[in-house]
């Protein structure tokens, strides 16, 4: 009797683990990571607030209140974050700024991710002359001054917010391509690549099934560094008058305005900076969580 239960227990312990793909596994592990989950919730709240901005405040983002210029937080008139130098409500402007900044951050990073990873993996995997040619092209792109590139785009296509995405994406993928190429070079000599080759797997499938999943770690870390970089670059472009135009705004623009008057009215710097900082923190934690979640060795 004891024997049978023991062997039954053994059998139960031997049950087949539920079949899961790398992505399902990664999702489960990501949701087990508390910092990442909290960060996702915070980001989600900021994103929802950005979308619902017109309904969260009684003030439009471009309305000038002449009698309430550069005023601290005022709950009587529903200026929760105060007003800016032109008497516009800072709360609603911060949320409108979130729209632009988040969009730029996420879209430009995604563009750079897709182009950079594919380009780098192909260059590294194919190697030889193709690799040389592809990477020299990257070098040429690197040496082009970024501002020159942006101004060129503006001249050709006119002023448009989507040009910022293109310009940023077109510049940010260069570093990504280099990182991925380096990682690919170290992965492609491993025996499992040779095994796949011997197993008749095509080169395209080897790149997407074997190489890219194995270079994801550094890619995700770099991605979390790219998002803040892109958000800050956007504010720089806007500062030069080439990006977002008044009365529309972004966090970068709000922060640079606030920094100029931080001694008289610190709230103008504090609130947009707080939102930016929280967002960047959240992206970093999510990146960390993603990197760990995508590594099956880390349970």
């Amino acid at each position: 009797m004891i024997h049978t239960t023991a062997s039954a227990d053994a059998m139960a312990g031997m049950e087949e683990l539920e079949g899961r793909s790398l992505w399902q596994d990664a999702r489960i592990r990501l949701f087990r990571n508390k910092a990442a989950v909290v960060s996702m919730v915070v980001l989600g709240i900021i994103a929802v607030m950005a979308v619902l901005a017109p309904y969260l405040s009684p003030h439009p983002y471009d309305e000038v209140y002449w009698e309430r210029i550069q005023m601290g937080p005022d709950f009587e008139n529903a200026h929760w974050f105060g007003t800016d130098g032109n008497g516009r409500d800072l709360f609603v402007r911060t949320l409108y700024g979130a729209r632009v900044s988040l969009m730029v951050g996420i879209l430009a990073t995604t563009v750079s991710l897709i182009i950079g990873v594919t380009y780098g993996a192909v260059a590294g995997y194919v190697g030889g002359r193709v690799d040389n040619l592809m990477m020299r092209f990257v070098d040429v792109m690197y040496s082009l001054p970024f501002m020159f590139f942006v101004i060129l785009l503006m001249v050709i296509f006119g002023r448009n917010i989507f040009l910022i995405f293109i310009a940023l994406g077109a510049v940010e993928w260069l570093t990504m391509a280099r990182i991925v190429r380096g990682q690919t070079l170290s992965v492609k000599r491993k025996e499992f690549i040779e095994a796949a080759h011997a197993g008749g797997v095509s080169s395209v499938k080897i790149i997407f099934r074997h190489i890219i999943p194995n270079v994801l770690g550094p890619v995700i870390v770099y991605m979390t560094l790219t998002i803040p970089q892109v958000i800050l670059t956007e504010s720089f472009i806007s500062f030069l008058g080439l990006g977002v135009q008044e009365p529309l705004t972004s966090w970068g623009v709000l922060i640079s305005e606030g920094a100029r008057v931080m001694e008289q009215s610190p709230w103008m710097l504090m609130f947009p900076a707080l939102f930016l900082a929280v967002t960047l923190f959240a992206f970093n934690f999510i990146g960390d969580g993603l990197r760990d979640a995508l590594d099956p060795k880390d349970r």
């Binding site: 049950e15 079949g19 499992f192 040779e194 095994a195 011997a198 197993g199 008749g200 060795k297």
Partner: protein, 329 residues
Amino acid sequence: MTGPILSVHGLKVHFDIRVGGILAGRYQPLKAVDGVSFELQPGETLGIVGESGCGKSTLGRAVLQLIPPTDGKVVWLGEDLAHLNAEALRAKRQEMQIIFQDPLASLNPRMTIGEIISEPLRTFEPGIGKAAMKARVKDMMAKVGLLPQMINRYPHEFSGGQCQRIGIARAMVLGPKLIICDEPVSALDVSIQAQIINLLMRLQQEFGLSLLFISHDLSVVRHISHRIMVLYLGKIMEIADRASIYAAPRHPYTRALISAVPIPDPDKERNKRRVVLQGDLPSPMAPPSGCVFRTRCPKASELCAKETPPLEEDGSGDSHLIACHHWRE
């Protein structure tokens, strides 16, 4: 079928290595495999032995066309592989597979065991369906001594011996006719080595496989091989049946190798005569003239420096081939 499953004629693999400075640099060939010919019968195991850097692994990969051969022919069931286009060669890959030295490195760390073993199936039989594929994979896992329940685990959860079994299952899943074993047991414990070797021999019996067994461990090669080929600097020194080569090694290099195998008996081990070779393996970039082994050979004469010894029969009639001017002495 009585013909050989694989015949290799004068196979050469030369790598161009850049030597010299940035400006005065030029390319010089490194002869990793230099004119190797042999035949492999169905169900036969050919052991390939030699020192590190003698071209064993390169030979194995060149047979599979994983490294393009510089010259020579690899004839697989009557077809020359070098002249096939990429698509036809890909189709041939299901008939010949390879297992590697480092069991863990040969498995993608981000794939489950099931995905790894089923990858050849997905490639060659795309319409097979999930359930059938899983059944085939589980069946194969059982055949190589893995618990089929482990199908959804990752490679790092397994020991070296188990990983090697996974590698064997991946190689076997399409029912190949030839498996190239590139030092499959060198990275394993001795007790595990025996298990893997016996598994390979059992699979060979069951499926009529031919094996090309690359190793530097002569005891292992002796256990598994029907015939043995001794390589030195990319050239065949001696090739013969197992019994013949161990009982009567003709080539001075083979003698030195065999005398270096430890005997598991302390008294015999202490009293046995060792042939100790002098010096190191010469650089394959600048191999010695004539017989490549002459710089370390106890019997070397002037003739050896002038003429490359041909691979010739020893006259016993059992296709024992030796490349040495002085093997009769």
